[in-house]
Symmetry: C2
Subunit: 144 residues, 2 copies
């Protein structure tokens, strides 16, 4: 991660923005690696500060932006209160529990069809589906 062995360029047009491998970023990346909880900036800050006393919010945001721009992270707009980050940048969708707010990945099996004549002259480049429902834990609850 962060401009791997093939130094420079995270993807396409990098106008002089080669990322530096700072210990803070590595700590954030390590926390995010394989993480499927869709953490917010604060979640990340709290988790990483434990081992990285001096970590600041500005650094967390800075890193999140840099990694998102580099295509290593995906910024989710699912939660209206805050942005959440997903280290899985492959095409996938999400299940959101309307009771507890938990967000779970749906990595395959989803098919979306939008007839070309329905696109209102848009050139469609991608899509994202949010499924609303109740997670197993919340289904077992009496009320709510």
């Amino acid at each position: 991660m962060i401009a791997g062995s093939e130094h420079k360029r995270a993807s396409k047009k990098n106008k002089g923005s080669r990322l530096k491998r700072t210990p803070q970023r590595l700590a954030i990346l390590q926390f995010l690696d394989g993480n499927t909880s869709h953490p917010s900036a604060e979640d990340i800050y709290r988790a990483v500060s434990k081992q990285y006393q001096s970590m600041s919010f500005a650094t967390v945001y800075n890193t999140l932006h840099a990694l998102t721009k580099a295509g290593v992270l995906r910024e989710l707009t699912i939660d209206p209160e805050r942005r959440r980050y997903d280290p899985d940048t492959s095409c996938h969708h999400h299940l959101i529990c309307i009771n507890c707010g938990r967000i779970v990945d749906v990595s395959g099996g989803v098919t979306v069809d939008l007839p070309s004549d329905m696109a209102r002259d848009f050139t469609i480049l991608g899509n994202h589906v949010e499924f609303y429902g109740r997670c197993p834990a919340c289904q077992k609850q009496k009320n709510a």
Copy 2:
């Protein structure tokens, strides 16, 4: 709108919350009626204040929350910067221009399939698809 002729109750369980038909709310509803621009609270505030000098932001938000809870409005989480409101509460999806940010409705023709065994034990109650692409106007642009 707002507890029509069949007085009281906007839908199900209304614990003593019958909405009042204030001129401010009617002005907001009138602005929203048939509006497909997915306006934000500020867009609404600006538009309605022209004719309603004394309108305040608190009232706009208050009304938006009340109408959303009453099921008359739908709050969109598409835009990470701010919440947007949609007077169309029927099941539909959205096209978002990645260049200019314009949001357009897709009211039919979309089919989404999530095999039951992929739902990870969730009880699915609904879904919303965001299509990303370029709107006609932006396709005609050279750069960007």
